[in-house]
Point group: C2
DNA sequence: CCTCACATGAAAGTAATACTATCAACCACA
DNA sequence: TGTGGTTGATAGTATTACTTTCATGTGAGG
């Protein structure tokens, strides 16, 4: 231990880079666990400080507020996912196969990957599923976007959309398709766990079922029957 | 004026039915405008009371907190949408055409319908787009679901999934498909407005483009090319 | 060995939020 | 002429979301 790969996110998300200090790294690791446990609305810097045996003031030196911290965690996740995708598909020439591999990574993403860091990735993925959209579904979305706070997500979508374009250059909505599929991968997992009537049961395990559902969605959209 | 159709939602969403009093109805109408203007996180009952020339205490007599109020607004919207769908498709025999009509309603839903109430529907739809998922993406999701707070949404999805099953009885994921399409209709509109690199531009107007994208998605999934 | 920057801890303070409680005024209706 | 129920007015509490100030420790450079 350990090469723990360095993931970089937009520096405007933080006041001080949490990766550079012990306190910062503890802050990230503990916040993942705490947000997972109590949810973003109940999460406060005071509670985090208590659990970490630190102080509110110290934590505010790293992040402006809990929404920026969330943005950091989520961006880190998207950057990590993008790395995973590149790593596992870089030597796969066929676009269709690459797309299937990506889909597999997207739907298996909540599994703990032992190759990485001291982070609780299963908890982080639950945070991504439950909280990530709150990072951009705000009144300040345009300012935050201007500041580039969502670029990691955009890069991810752009990368995968590129594969779609390679596979089906004539398809008109590659970005919409991929953003829909990425969001659906999370939402369907959430629904399966908490609102099962919004998904469908089957013999397959949840993960497998979501994979098959998204596979049909993705490739069905790319190879239409005979759209009038 | 006016027949203003009566939409009922789960009574556990409120403490006192806001439809039954003048103050309650004003609360709904004004909250829609205020949440639209400042966003849910900045919205407080104090601010709403000030704008309405009422008091915090009075408003707390109707709703436990702002999340329940949000749940009410959103549920009201889903119930209203379901009514719209029934109204416009009740005498259409062909399932495929019915599905297309539903898709049209889903993607045109932000347009003001003059037949209804004193509500600012365009503002309500913006709230649905930006805030609705915050009603269920919480730590309390299971309790709230137990209490039936999301049933309007489930009914809507179940209704539309029923049409899908009629059209393609063999398709394995009708609920997942419809929940994905309904969520995507909102998300893609939000992206088009605020994060355009997550969608695709085209000659079509936004609304039209989202319709075509979702049409391809929906019917592509139902008529797969040759799924192995 | 000194000191100087810098990170953290400790403590306190402020404004706003998220409620709850009490009581008086009013209005509807019996 | 009561009487129950709705609202308004006022006040109060606990928590949240920060900011400020100052003391302390630590490590890097001279």
């Amino acid at each position: 231990m350990s090469a723990s790969l360095r993931i970089e996110v937009n520096c405007k998300l933080y006041l001080r880079d949490p990766q550079e200090t012990e306190l910062g790294r503890r802050m990230i690791a503990e916040s993942v666990r705490l947000i997972d446990e109590i949810g973003l609305e109940h999460f406060t810097f005071r509670k985090l400080a208590q659990r970490m045996q630190s102080t509110e003031a110290s934590l505010y030196r790293y992040f402006e507020n809990k929404y920026r911290l969330l943005g950091y965690l989520v961006s880190w996740y998207w950057a990590w996912l993008r790395f995973q995708i590149r790593f596992h598909t870089h030597n796969v020439p066929a676009a269709a196969l690459r797309l299937r591999l990506i889909l597999g990574i997207l739907t298996r993403a909540h599994r703990d990957d032992p190759t990485t860091t001291e982070l609780d990735e299963a908890a982080l993925y639950r945070i991504v599923v439950r909280e990530s959209s709150k990072a951009y579904l705000t009144h300040e979305v345009d300012e935050d976007n201007q500041a580039g706070l969502f670029r990691e997500y955009k890069y991810l979508v752009a990368d995968i959309a590129g594969v779609v374009q390679e596979l089906s250059p004539a398809y008109a909505y590659p970005h919409a398709l991929i953003s829909t599929v990425v969001e659906a991968a999370q939402k369907q997992l959430f629904f399966a766990r908490h609102l099962p009537s919004l998904t469908d049961t089957s013999a397959d395990a949840t993960e497998q079922r979501i994979y098959r559902f998204l596979e049909g969605l993705l490739f069905g959209a790319l190879h239409p029957p005979e759209s009038a």
